[in-house]
Symmetry: D2
Amino acid sequence: MAGNTLGTLFTVTTAGESHGPALVAIVDGCPPGLELSAADLQVDLDRRKPGTSRHTTQRREPDEVEILSGVFEGRTTGCPIGLLIRNTDQKSKDYSAIKDLFRPAHADYSYHHKYGLRDYRGGGRSSARETAMRVAAGAIARKYLASQGITVRGYMSQLGPIDIPFRSWDAVSENAFFSPDPDKVPELEAYMDQLRRDQDSVGAKITVIAEGVPPGLGEPVFDRLDAELAYALMSINAVKGVEIGAGFASVAQRGTEHRDELTPEGFLSNNAGGVLGGISSGQPIVAHLALKPTSSITTPGRSIDVDGKPVEVVTKGRHDPCVGIRATPIAEAMMALVLMDHLLRHRAQNAGVEVQTPVLGQL
Amino acid sequence: MAGNTLGTLFTVTTAGESHGPALVAIVDGCPPGLELSAADLQVDLDRRKPGTSRHTTQRREPDEVEILSGVFEGRTTGCPIGLLIRNTDQKSKDYSAIKDLFRPAHADYSYHHKYGLRDYRGGGRSSARETAMRVAAGAIARKYLASQGITVRGYMSQLGPIDIPFRSWDAVSENAFFSPDPDKVPELEAYMDQLRRDQDSVGAKITVIAEGVPPGLGEPVFDRLDAELAYALMSINAVKGVEIGAGFASVAQRGTEHRDELTPEGFLSNNAGGVLGGISSGQPIVAHLALKPTSSITTPGRSIDVDGKPVEVVTKGRHDPCVGIRATPIAEAMMALVLMDHLLRHRAQNAGVEVQTPVLGQL
Amino acid sequence: MAGNTLGTLFTVTTAGESHGPALVAIVDGCPPGLELSAADLQVDLDRRKPGTSRHTTQRREPDEVEILSGVFEGRTTGCPIGLLIRNTDQKSKDYSAIKDLFRPAHADYSYHHKYGLRDYRGGGRSSARETAMRVAAGAIARKYLASQGITVRGYMSQLGPIDIPFRSWDAVSENAFFSPDPDKVPELEAYMDQLRRDQDSVGAKITVIAEGVPPGLGEPVFDRLDAELAYALMSINAVKGVEIGAGFASVAQRGTEHRDELTPEGFLSNNAGGVLGGISSGQPIVAHLALKPTSSITTPGRSIDVDGKPVEVVTKGRHDPCVGIRATPIAEAMMALVLMDHLLRHRAQNAGVEVQTPVLGQL
Amino acid sequence: MAGNTLGTLFTVTTAGESHGPALVAIVDGCPPGLELSAADLQVDLDRRKPGTSRHTTQRREPDEVEILSGVFEGRTTGCPIGLLIRNTDQKSKDYSAIKDLFRPAHADYSYHHKYGLRDYRGGGRSSARETAMRVAAGAIARKYLASQGITVRGYMSQLGPIDIPFRSWDAVSENAFFSPDPDKVPELEAYMDQLRRDQDSVGAKITVIAEGVPPGLGEPVFDRLDAELAYALMSINAVKGVEIGAGFASVAQRGTEHRDELTPEGFLSNNAGGVLGGISSGQPIVAHLALKPTSSITTPGRSIDVDGKPVEVVTKGRHDPCVGIRATPIAEAMMALVLMDHLLRHRAQNAGVEVQTPVLGQL
């Protein structure tokens, strides 16, 4: 496949460019009988939407989603769910300036070599605008997972050099940064304001956690739950690293320290991040992802044009100075989609499995 | 699928448990006409083989691979290649001690909840023994890639707390640690000796690099080259984190620093790790992976049995005190398999694409 | 997957119900650079369109397709092509009469047991209206195949008891039946007129032929070209049988009669229907498909309701008395989609294969 | 994929050539806890085995299967099941006579053009020997299906010009032809004896029936149960046609005749062959398949060599004069594999669906 489909049983196929007529998605494999309306998807779309604070792009799109199929009388039918978001804010600006050159750290050069031609308007298919459909599809998964007692939530854990310790979930929705620590917000705002003055951008780290996941999800060997999470999270624009649980800190850990001991009352720690041997353990699933700084900045940079000649590039337009700020809902969506797929896969093969061993919680 | 198949066009399907009769794999989609013999696979199998130094498990298996099909008169036919490795060193030891309890940080507990029953002998399917077949399959991919000018090589870049800077590829094959710095070897040996005395284990970081990869491999959106690498590398036993290029260091980088500028003479840096917008840029593909410390250690740990009662666990047997030491050939194999798959996928869709823009090297 | 995606490399994913807001499709894997506009798809959509003669349903929909993505400045970009057809003629009629009962030979009963609920308006997802998107997607494949010298054409070879011998391709487009024999048309019209008076329906046989297919397409063992054609053609609503080449006549043939001998001037016959060992031989690919009579007829029939009580069913509405009449463009589309997929698959694995043996034509 | 994997959730991947070292298969996705031993597979392998009567090839292979993995203490573990059959009767005969020419109606010519080279010994991968692994894998599916009350059985319904009406299942296992009518056996034997004297071969028709299949299996649109059956059955060597239920007879049927009416006591007929809208109805699943006459006959035929020069071909060796005679167990296996896959797929999406409408039997 040409890579625009995610999942095995609960699949999401997307299409659409940044400045084309519309984004479209088909979500296949949703169980029948789930109450669903466009409003359910809109909640998450609005959390990802640009233009909600001065720290994100000023492109303003309503990102209004329409459900085209698969829902009847307010419930899913089990048939594929078609989703449509019209692009309304396609500024008919002049793209001739970037048409024949490659912006550094963008997909221009690699797309050009892959396809020989490309839709250069606003990045075309490589634009993060595509992630709107991930969020819409993810909202369906999140709603179903919630009906099974599974929640997926994320927050920003680092902005550039600033670490953001976890304080509370409540705080996350109350600021533009998805910061779990409300006291950190002024520092984050000051940092962003200086960044804009510097005409520069910066990276961010996002943490996503799923709670209520039953043990047994994931497959051994290749399609491990952590492997599929790594795939799904790394597929988000600008992501350069993924960790599960202790992640890279595991390298310097000793076995006596890393291993999460079990007691009748629960696991004593969660270095595993909720995955043992590729399969969920019942502990919270914990993933961290690193997003690189936005590539579109107004500080000039060196590059070449399609003929290989040197050029100077300045990326104008309305861009997020930190793409990580709006990445939390996208990361939540991707984790939800992976869990949804593996929930169905688990049912397929292990429907009748009964186990007497108690399911442990996390202490 | 139940997750034992990797790839879309160049696929590897594996089966086999640690202490079952044999490991088996079917490699499908190999182009016809490639010269291939079991000896080609044996080279890499021997690099992964246990028991080659005092720092790895003393389980000694010849790991001799037999090609069952798909090769005729010394060349691949395009039909699926069947591979077989008999398990010869299945110690018929008594497993009753671990049969009914869950070793911390192992897959025992999660497998038990997934399947209701499990082959507990030596970890069964969750044992890293399964990776022998990844290496064998990867050797086929590496041989084909080499015929296209693509090389995949790896080394250990960190052992526990010890950073190992890159010095030279030649050094890597000359020590048991895959250390690219020969001067670090005595320090690594001393560290490992102390670790054994402590009855403990430790993690490691591996770096894998592909050179000669043409621009254009990978798909936009979901099946990005970096996403598929993250999936493939995270699927290796004990891996807890994957980075592409600058990885988590990107978080604190600024856009002016991170972006790899282009000049007619080549890219000026490689923070991208060779992937832009999910598609190879022609720069070297660089990935880092974090491996957790070995879970099987003789220092007692707390756990529960299948009835939920508390127990103390001691994992005896012949185990690597650092699973990362033998992980380099496995990581190379996984990167090679992903590149091979995407090379074929690229040909399928873009066979006729011609581009006049020069392919840039890395400065 | 939940079965709404066709293909491996050139994939078509569809969604949409008969009386929902719209039909939608995503076509992934199209090579870049193909000239394409909505008008290219409209030609085939119009050939399938209802209401063009008195022998088909009087439902009149413009079936106007919009391309949402994947095409830039008149050429495909290699990114997924989103397609949208709004349903405009959704009669807001009262469906309460069929809501709680199962029409014989319809999917009502099986959908009800599968999903527990269903969109009963006009058959919902089980309606043949869904095939509009197959035709639209097939038109993309047909255009690309044509650029490679491959044509796919079909005709009606039997209507109820009336055999229709092949006379000429030109005739096919000149009558409402896709009859290759213009002299048969009056007989077909008389038969259909009588059928309507009888308030009954009838089956049909369609023949589809691909010419210009190079030898080598298809895979051994499972994904044979003929197996994938059988799958694709059998997936069309109402199809109950598929033959390749001599088909069921092969049963009574002797080996000396069936085998297609080869001479330097070409194959001497085509009982194989262009496929040997699952792989195209260079001869024309020939398939026949049997369509059952329309299930929606006004002659009352026995059935049960959702409580298992006996009921009498009369299917009112605007229905084709012979669904086979409009099936030719659908069958062409399905054959084209399979060939397109296998053309790409062949390129992936066998890009560099060179053969000196001449390609034989059909004598 | 290169087409050597069947199924979505319950997958079978095979490898192996007629005269290579071995056949190998990996069956993935089997539910855990199923009692299974090699003896379970051997029963069906022996039914397919050559050399059991004078009417089949005299090649004698024990076809002894070894289970390499996925079974522990007599039960499936849920991990992939590796299967191995060594080729023991590889006559080291001289193949130079057919090495450079193309036997009519064989895969020689199409493989040659696909791959550029081929394993010509006994047909290599295109040999029906490969179907041994289908039968072995199918036996696993059949055993699981039986535990769910589903049986799959087949018989020969036509041999060359001789129709064989169904009389009883008991008769099928009591003769070499899988004839359900014991009284027909002498006629079949006489026909086959004459055929051998004529140095010719003939086709056959096989009927396969699944009983006890619950309503709801199969997916709408592409992955319909009948479409997947058509794919699976058409993928068997020599099959040229597949029918579901009334099949090609539907063409001449009227709607009033074809539609299977429902009463509280059951369906009144089964023209549908147990599939409505692509989804099982609870009626028996009925499929017919047409097999062409064996291509390997000793009567000389015209062909060309690899240089395009005319040659005369005589296929010596030990061949079945009617490949259909041994096809019944293969067809059963393929139907079982498709049903098994769809049973798991159904569970995945529709695990919680509850329906009050009674399941109808077949009157």
